[in-house]
């Protein structure tokens, strides 16, 4: 049978293994953050708009907007119990910036294969820039409980081949 000194020596070795493992995991996540596996993690400025005054902002008329310089922005408003617009069509192979805002309570959204997962906290704009490579459809259910109609609230993103 082992005496307590030997066990404690082994345990100290185990402690070192645990610390090294933690540092490696941390380095791994930092690497994936720097390489932008998850869009919008760095560089998207924190922006707050009073959710009761959306009519004076670009969220007044939600939907896709193509600027004269060719940049593509889409503005979505989440409110109980729908996304406006509930279906968004975007072109493939073009950088698109998606802006989401919640107008009343907290909502949420996940575009699974697009690595987008956002808590939409009233007034705080969530922004993601992404180039969708191929045509396809993403459907997101609202993923933060928002009341009795929560399950009827969904958002569809359709990526279309350029005409």
């Amino acid at each position: 049978m082992l005496d307590h000194h030997t066990i404690e020596r082994y345990e100290l070795g185990w402690l070192v293994v645990a610390v090294v493992m933690v540092l490696l995991m941390f380095a791994g996540v930092i690497a994936s953050m720097i390489t932008e596996t998850v869009p919008g993690m760095f560089g998207s400025p924190a922006r707050y708009i009073n959710p009761t005054q959306l009519s004076q902002t670009e969220f007044a008329a939600p939907g896709l907007k193509v600027s004269p310089d060719g940049s593509v922005n889409a503005y979505m408003v989440a409110r109980a119990f729908q996304f406006q617009p509930s279906v968004l069509r975007v072109p493939a192979n073009t950088p698109v910036t998606l802006h989401f805002i919640a107008a009343d309570v907290i909502h949420g959204l996940m575009l699974g294969q697009g690595n987008v997962n956002a808590e939409l906290i009233p007034g705080h704009v969530a922004t993601f820039t992404r180039t969708f490579k191929s045509p396809g459809t993403f459907v997101s259910q609202c993923n933060e409980y928002c009341g009795s109609g929560h399950q009827t609230m969904s958002f569809t993103l359709i990526v279309e081949a350029p005409k």
Binding site: M1, F26, M110
Partner: protein, 577 residues
């Protein structure tokens, strides 16, 4: 049980007062434990309905007393995660340290804590049962519930803090009257846990008392939802350590003796609790990786701290594993794995705890995924998350509490456990039910199935559901397995509590405080007490670590709170259910 001789039944049954004679704190402890278990009974009864929801079977339409899936989910989450745990832990972590230190608690204070909690729970239950607080377990504003719910929740926490203060005061008094002595392990760990909870509960207390109660009463017009979420998760992650550390106390300080062995390493056990005291709280931001409006820098720093919690968890796995191996060797076991056969698997107290530990291995691994800023994106708000916490708090903690109830209720009441066999079955079925549940839920989460969704009415899920048929069926089946486990468990508990035979004082189930290997070696060597390692003397100064923990939390959280408070964005409350 393992150590008690065959119980000698005294006839006629002893009057109750005599059972508590010598240790009147047994009665208040029993009240805490049994009230907690009654709350669990209600919470668990709703569980199968939630599981069937995932299998797309809607039972809610047939239930007149529950208005919606979300009301059921609110009850399930609040009762199981908040109410059951708080009662059970308050009872256990009052009784254990007092007995370990040989000090009787002030019973007036203990009962005051019990009634504070109970009045609070009745208020909150009134609100939830009346569908006036269908807010789920997280009660995020601006969804606004009845003031009764928030006041009740605050009283529940205040009750637990009264016990925390009492245990810490008792310990400091013991230190004064025992200069130079080292606190017994079970008491040391209990005090460290309560100190952690004192720091950790601050967020919830401030959120509810300063913001939500005045707002729900109509005294203030709005609440900043981001500030409220940040306060909630300040407590919301640390609370999981408040749930799991009492299980660790049982694994470290009681299980070795229950298995027939000793504590492998006393000093490492203390070190791991000090690490939990330091690291449990300044990590809550990892629940908010997807929140806009918080700095990525602080999220990253708290990610590192969250990862560091892996260290004391790994220490626990090593120490407890070594203790079990020593126990098996003492029973004649050997080999690399062969020793496991020599453990007392027929004892539900032992088996339930080992199954709890096994569930915690995948539970901890999944937790690392949740704590990773990048990987969290794939699982945040999906079914993966409830899959994760059902094998952590739902199994590691709950199954350990089952094991504790199997010896502690007989200890407190002197009534023998009604059926060892049924207790054993309930533990195995609970374990397998939760494993099946977790496999289903983690799998669904990776497909993208959201959590907290009433499937019967869902509009955006059909494509995902078609890809998730197998895991969704697993979730449904697991609910049925767990229902059977729960029926068996509560049958054993109520048959025990309502039993009429009591054993004599000599045959009372003992409190299984374990000896450490170092102590045993010292006794075998020269009959003296073991030399106390310098590290243990340093770790003994818990107030210093309490202060350090507080300082670390301030560094990790104050900048975020200050910036949120300087730029408040209050919005009005809404009732949308």
């Amino acid at each position: 049980m393992t150590t008690a001789p065959p119980p000698t039944v005294s006839a006629p049954a002893l009057p109750t007062e005599q059972v508590y004679l010598g240790h009147p704190e047994k009665k208040v402890t029993l009240y805490f434990l049994v009230t907690g278990l009654l709350m669990l009974l209600i919470g668990v009864a709703i569980g199968p309905l939630q599981a069937l929801n995932y299998a797309n079977i809607d039972v809610y339409q047939y239930l007149p007393f529950l208005k919606s899936y979300y009301q059921g989910l609110s009850l399930h989450g609040v009762l199981n995660a908040l109410v059951f745990t708080t009662y059970f832990i308050s009872g256990l972590l009052l009784y254990l340290p007092c007995r370990a230190l040989g000090v009787r608690p002030n019973l007036v204070v203990a009962w005051a804590a019990y009634w504070t909690m109970t009045i609070g729970v009745l208020m909150a239950a009134w609100a939830v049962l009346g569908n006036n607080a269908t807010l789920l377990y997280t009660f995020y504003p601006p969804l606004q519930g009845s003031p009764l719910f928030y006041i009740g929740a605050a009283l529940l926490v205040v009750g637990s803090l009264i016990i925390a203060a009492q245990v810490i005061v008792i310990w400091t008094g013991w230190k004064r009257s025992h200069p130079g002595e080292i606190t017994p392990l079970a008491a040391y760990m209990s005090v460290a846990t309560w100190m952690m909870w004192v720091i950790a509960s601050l967020g919830l207390v401030v959120e509810v008392v300063v913001f939500l109660i005045p707002w729900s009463l109509g005294w203030t017009k709005g609440v900043d939802p981001l500030l409220a979420r940040t306060l909630f998760w300040y407590t919301g992650h640390a609370i999981v350590y408040f749930w799991v550390l009492p299980a660790y106390i049982s694994w470290y300080a009681l299980l070795p003796r229950q298995a027939g062995g000793v504590i492998a390493s006393d000093s490492m056990a203390r070190l791991s609790f000090v690490l939990f005291l330091l690291l449990s709280t300044p990590v809550g931001l990892h629940h908010q990786y997807s929140d806009t409006g918080l700095s990525i820098g602080w999220k990253t720093v708290q990610m590192l701290l969250t990862f560091l919690v892996v260290v004391p968890s790994m220490l626990t796995a090593f120490s407890v594993g070594a203790s079990l191996e020593l126990a098996a060797q003492a029973r004649g076991g050997g080999g690399y794995f062969g020793w496991t056969r020599r453990l007392p698997w027929k004892d539900p107290v032992f088996t339930a705890q080992v199954l709890a530990m096994i569930s915690f291995i995948p539970g901890g691994a999944g937790g690392i995924v949740n704590a990773s800023l990048a990987l969290d994106t794939a699982v945040h708000n999906t079914a993966w998350i409830p899959g994760h916490f059902h094998i952590t708090v739902g199994t590691a903690t709950t199954l350990t509490f089952f094991a504790i109830s199997f010896w502690l209720l007989p200890h407190l009441t002197r009534k023998p456990l009604a059926s060892v066999k049924m207790a054993l079955w309930s533990a195995w079925l609970w374990f397998w039910g939760m494993i099946i549940f977790a496999v289903g839920m983690h799998w669904e989460g990776l497909i993208g199935i959201p959590r907290r969704t009433y499937f019967a009415g869902a509009t955006g899920l059909s494509e995902m559901i078609s890809r998730a048929q197998v895991p969704l069926a697993l979730t449904g089946i697991s609910g049925m397995v767990l229902a059977v486990a729960a029926v068996l468990y509560f049958t054993v508990i109520f048959r025990t509590l309502l039993g009429r035979t009591r054993v004599s004082a000599q045959a009372e189930v003992p409190i299984p405080f374990s000896q450490s290997l170092a102590e045993v070696e010292a006794l075998a060597g020269n009959g003296g007490s073991p030399k106390i390692a310098g590290a243990v003397r340093v770790l003994e100064r818990l107030w210093v670590f309490f202060a350090l923990a507080l300082a670390l939390v301030m560094v990790m959280y104050l900048p975020t709170f200050i910036s949120l408070l300087l730029n408040p964005h209050p919005v009005p409350g809404l009732r949308l259910w």
